[in-house]
Structure formats: structure tokens, C-alpha cells
Symmetry: C2
Subunit: 215 residues, 2 copies
């Protein structure tokens, strides 16, 4: 029942990495974290080794650095995520249970773009999580979680990326939901892929702007 020190440290550092608590060029040193968390070096070592395996940290000569991905590397992540999410949408159209459908229905129609933007964004996030759950493929869900973390951590370096128009996003979600409800896997797949390619295109534009600023 009691979570181990290793898991506690892992979760804490993961959340820090995802929230931008560390500077992009920070170096994480087991000894320092062990002192900070009040545990010994051993569980910290193991937690950091896990994060390295997750693709969030890179072992340096001395300690761990936050993984630095090239722009191409980040686009690879988006690409992989888009394909898996598209597959999840297709599988959801075929395998969704009535309960899946009810939950998705709520999330698809619920968020009127008039509300608090932060809350709308969070709803959009849950929507994706529900689609993945409705696909009933835990392997794919697990892979997607990892990719999400990698993307989140990698993007922090490039500053807060301007978010896309929420209204368009909500509309696309609604269209994908319709396909899932209708059991039309092919359409769900195509729409989800297009949905995520919009994201990718936005990111590319963001990179271009970022690059021209820092030149």
C-alpha cells in the first residue's frame, strides 16, 4: 500500500519536468535530490533512471540533463502520437461501449467556448483521454502517455506555444465523436489524423517564428 520512495520521487520529478519547474539547461543530481526529498541516493538514482528511459532525461557526465530534442525530433513525436491517436479513434469507433459513448458525448458537446479558456482546454484534454480509453487497447494508451510526456517536456524549451483556436478544436472533436458514435472507423481515423496534423502545422509555424526571433 505505502508507495515506495522511488515511486514518490519519480512522480514528483516527473510532475516538475512537465510543469517547467526546472530551467531547460538544469542538471539534476541524485545526491542533491536525495537531500531535498529526505531519502537516500538509491531510490533517487532509480527514479532518475526511469525518467531517462522515458525519454525525459539524458545522462550527462555528471547528473542528468533535461532531454534536448531537435525540431525534427519533436515533429517525430507529434507524428507518432498522431498515428497512434488516429488508430485509437478508429478502434474506439468499433469497440466503444455504451458507457464510453455517453462519457464522450458529454465531453464533445459540453464545452461551449464561452467559458473559462483554461477549463475548456482541460475538457479537450479529457476528451482525448476518453477516446483512448474507448479504444480498449491498453498498450496503445500506455505508449500515448509516454509520448504526451515527451512532447510536453520537449516543448517547454520553445516557450509557451500559442494555442490554436479553441472553437475549431471543439468542432473537430464533435465531428470525430459523430464518426465514433456512427461506428465509422475509417472516418474517425481520417478526422483524427487531420485534427492532429493541424496541431503539427501550428507547431511548425511556431518553430519558424521562434527561430526568426532568436536569430
Amino acid at each position: 500500500m505505502a508507495p515506495t520512495a522511488r515511486d514518490t520521487v519519480y512522480a514528483a520529478v516527473l510532475s516538475r519536468l512537465a510543469s517547467g519547474h526546472y530551467a531547460p539547461d538544469a542538471i539534476l543530481i541524485p545526491g542533491q535530490l536525495s537531500e531535498e526529498f529526505g531519502v537516500s541516493r538509491t531510490p533517487v538514482r532509480e527514479a532518475l533512471a526511469f525518467l531517462e528511459r522515458d525519454g525525459l532525461l539524458d545522462a550527462a557526465q555528471r547528473g542528468y540533463a533535461i532531454t534536448r530534442r531537435s525540431e525534427e525530433g519533436i515533429l517525430e513525436l507529434f507524428e507518432a502520437r498522431a498515428r497512434l491517436d488516429a488508430f485509437a479513434a478508429e478502434a474506439a469507433a468499433i469497440r466503444r461501449s455504451p458507457i464510453d459513448l455517453a462519457g464522450l458525448d458529454d465531453l464533445s458537446r459540453g464545452p461551449r467556448t464561452t467559458g473559462d479558456p483554461e477549463q475548456v482546454r482541460s475538457t479537450l484534454g479529457s476528451w482525448h483521454a476518453h477516446v483512448r480509453a474507448a479504444a480498449h487497447n491498453s498498450t496503445v494508451s500506455a505508449l500515448l502517455s509516454r509520448l504526451d510526456s515527451q512532447i510536453k517536456v520537449s516543448m517547454l524549451r520553445y516557450g509557451d506555444s500559442r494555442q490554436r483556436e479553441l472553437g475549431v478544436c471543439v468542432e473537430e472533436h464533435a465531428a470525430i465523436f459523430d464518426a465514433i458514435r456512427d461506428g465509422d472507423g475509417t472516418r474517425a481515423h481520417a478526422l483524427m489524423l487531420a485534427h492532429l496534423e493541424h496541431d503539427r502545422d501550428l507547431r511548425i509555424r511556431h518553430f519558424a517564428e521562434h527561430r526568426s526571433e532568436t536569430l
Copy 2:
């Protein structure tokens, strides 16, 4: 340069798991392996924790068991791999370099089914590895490696699976290669997906037979 004890143990146990060295119901205990490899418990603990994260081991109350997947769970793995491999084929068609193409050409036309079956099989394996490399997406390649290991370990439990007709396999590879050479991503994708669905169907039949035998 010197590989650490942790990495050595990790590689050794991974290879044992993939080759069926352990009985399906074996329990791996850090203390025992540490004695066997002549290292202390610490690096063995870490290696086993990695393998657990890889989805190859499951922590038991006492030691680690080899992951037991349901038939549905195994089909999920095949499904995820098929989708990612299909994407890799599509990407390869678009991004392959002349060198990629030359290597693939060799592997696609090389194996005449008259030779040693074991060598043909190994060539077929390299062919898939080359397609993945030609896709130039290291994220996807890494995910696929993990899925390969998981599938290999999971399938051992169900006995040596009858392999499919090699001739058909070679022909399908050749057709996919043609699509990649022509830069036809859509065709490469579709053909690869069909190719791997044949594998999946064979597996399902294998499960059905296995089940009727053990009943």
C-alpha cells in the same frame, strides 16, 4: 566505455527472456541473479525494474514473474505494432535515402525461398528493421523495438508458433519494397498493414488450436 553491471545484467536477462531460457512460470529473484552474475543486488534490482517497465516482467509479492498476457492483450500488441510498422512503411516511401533503398533492394530480392529456412527468416527480420530505419523516425523505431520484445516474450508461453508460408512473405515484402521505391506512401502503408494482418490472423488461428488442445 565499460558497460555498467546494471546494463550487463539487463541485456543478459532480456536475451534470456526472449530466447525462452526461463519457464513461463519462473520467478526471478534479485538475490539469486546477483549471485549468479557475481554482482550485488543493487544493479540487478535496477535491471529487473527496467524489464518490468518494458512490460516483460511483473513484480510479484516475492520476485518478478514473466508477464502473462491474455490472448486479447497479445492481439493488442500485434495491432499496435502493425499500425506503427505500416506508418514506418509509409514514411519510408517518402523519406528513404538512396542508401536505404539499395539496402532494402538487396534484402527484398535476395532471399530465394530455396535456401536455409532459418537464414531466410533472419533476412525477413532484417528487412523489417531496414524499413523502420528508412522511415527515419527514431521514436517510432524505439516503440517498435519494445513491442517486438513484448510480443516475443508473450508468445513463448503459447509454444513455438507455426510460422507462415515463407514464399508468401517474401512476395509481400517485394510488393512493399516496390511501393517504397516508387515513393507511394499510401500503397506502402496499405500493403504493410495487410502483410501484418496476415500474421495476426495466423496468430488467432494458433490461439484457437492451442485452446482446443488444452481443453
